[in-house]
Symmetry: C2
Subunit: 384 residues, 2 copies
Amino acid sequence: MTDVAVIGASMTQFGNREGEWIRDLLAEAGQACLADATVSPDDVEHLYVSNMASGEFEGQTGVMNALAHDMGVLPAYAQRVDQTSASGGAGIYAAWQSIASGASDLTLLVGGEKMTHKTTGEATDVIASITHPAEYKHGLTLPSFAGLTARHYLEKFDAPREALARVAVKNHENGTRNPHAQFRKTVDMETVLDSPMVADPLRLYDFCPITDGSAAMLFCPEELAREYTDEYATVAGVAGATDTHVVHERADPTHMGAVAESGREAFEMADADPEDVDVAELHDMFTILELLQMEALGFAEQGEAWKRVEAGETAIDGDLPINTSGGLKSKGHPLGASGVAQGVEIYEQLVGEAGDRQVDAELGLACNVGGFGNCVTTTLMEVA
Amino acid sequence: MTDVAVIGASMTQFGNREGEWIRDLLAEAGQACLADATVSPDDVEHLYVSNMASGEFEGQTGVMNALAHDMGVLPAYAQRVDQTSASGGAGIYAAWQSIASGASDLTLLVGGEKMTHKTTGEATDVIASITHPAEYKHGLTLPSFAGLTARHYLEKFDAPREALARVAVKNHENGTRNPHAQFRKTVDMETVLDSPMVADPLRLYDFCPITDGSAAMLFCPEELAREYTDEYATVAGVAGATDTHVVHERADPTHMGAVAESGREAFEMADADPEDVDVAELHDMFTILELLQMEALGFAEQGEAWKRVEAGETAIDGDLPINTSGGLKSKGHPLGASGVAQGVEIYEQLVGEAGDRQVDAELGLACNVGGFGNCVTTTLMEVA
């Protein structure tokens, strides 16, 4: 098996990109990524596009083919990777497989979504099509699952409501340091706790926004990496797993089984433990999910993650900085882009390009979640 | 690089599957494939679902997660592969990469599409979303490209109109031998040539139908294949390529560049030549495409393929039987399923399970085309 290096990364401004379309955003990130690594489009052999729903959002399919054309990487092989909101993480896995199998010596991954031209209701309908029809018809959308699970977690583990709010406050604070984040403003505890109720106990500031944006990463065999750059990272471990499509069939709603399984496999591949991780990007689509992923990945015992958050250990100056990028909460969540943007943040932290967000890190983790933990990919990257 | 074996295959009845939905069709093919190889769902490590547009056709996304749930393969990693109408071939490539990279020791690929509940106009709109907006707004849909290209081919190479009709007659003849084909009836030259005009010179019988259906294949490292079965095939070569998204930018519309490139790479990987191929499944969405693919793959010189068809060399008892399954023309074309069903046919021919369609074959080729040759995957399989 060929060891796989990450030799470049980029992301566009996340937010409301009115007047631009999915093709524009993908090309912007893809071109910036090749420029970051000083690589010519001619050298790209495989191109993966992580995108959930360009057809539903924009009436445009075949975006991988369109991007290959627009970027001038023809005749590179191009394919779209869909794993709903975990499409970006799945794209990292697909890119890794393309290099590790010997199919490609230079693979560009671009994730993106264009959503803000739709009303919130229209966008929510597209996202809700992930869920099982038997649950959806009873009104069980992703936000309602989040509310039910948060209520259960707070009661079961005697956790304070404020712990959830603290996740939002922390990630907004980090987001002020990220020039590409959708929201670059701090929020205080009072603002989060007084924001409009969405799905009891979760309020508006417990949720990520609807976002346009794109992100990209460039991969090659490690043995070729130094031909392109002196500063790179390697993929130490990557694995994915699936949980029940019917969420109510899970034995314990506060345990994210696919996160645990993909994390276990990724740590095994990397021959590493959760304690070895220096920085992590978790899928904080809802504040409660950051706590649940910390526990499923082994960063805390079940029911204990909120204590680490309350103690400031996951802040940017803590023992385990989580979502230094601002997370989905503040950076934004353009579905297919999010998992790639997680990878971009870890890469930048490892190679020392994280600017005002820089922490000291040799091993980083990204966990990208689709649906309500339905499908998950976890990636570990380390300094070369 | 691990050598990859195909140890099982299946397809559902293709046609109008009224009352069943994408999830039903995928599960039917997937379960039949595991049964074909006598493999337990628990053993599946990766699951790829080739599907173009379940969201647009049915308002259901996350079908890979739903299928993993329905088949009981949890916590297997599940991902959807989209390459428009070449999604099935791209699925074969993804499955191959998953085994060759060492990421999985048992990968199930299931391709499917549910389309017939939509009107022809609605289905055509979804398919047309593949094309470049600048061409689509001028009415340049895939059938109109086919008509223009067919006219050009006939004039440039002084080929008779009847050569196109002969492709349809041949593939319908083959389809009568395939119990899973949508159309199991012969058509004569007169019927094809007198059928309603669609895109001059192409008539109704030059086009494949709209179809519901699913197909599946099972992959493992060759070193493990004999633990499951004595009869299997191996993937000798597989590669993909992309052509311009804007079709009118191609220098020669009668040359399918991405077919040629993917074929060249697949033959190189297999250390084989076009003359070595004993049976082939080509993407005959339109009759003209079968001729163009024969030429791009090296089965005939440019402008000469129609002579091989006229001479009967591509008939089931000819030197190079093409589309023994009935092809897309007669078997049907459920977008995401078609490339997988091509692989199923080649597998069954190689392991001697093709029933009334059986030919003598040690090396087979499948060529799956997306858009109007926009993205292509070519696979070579051989007897183990």
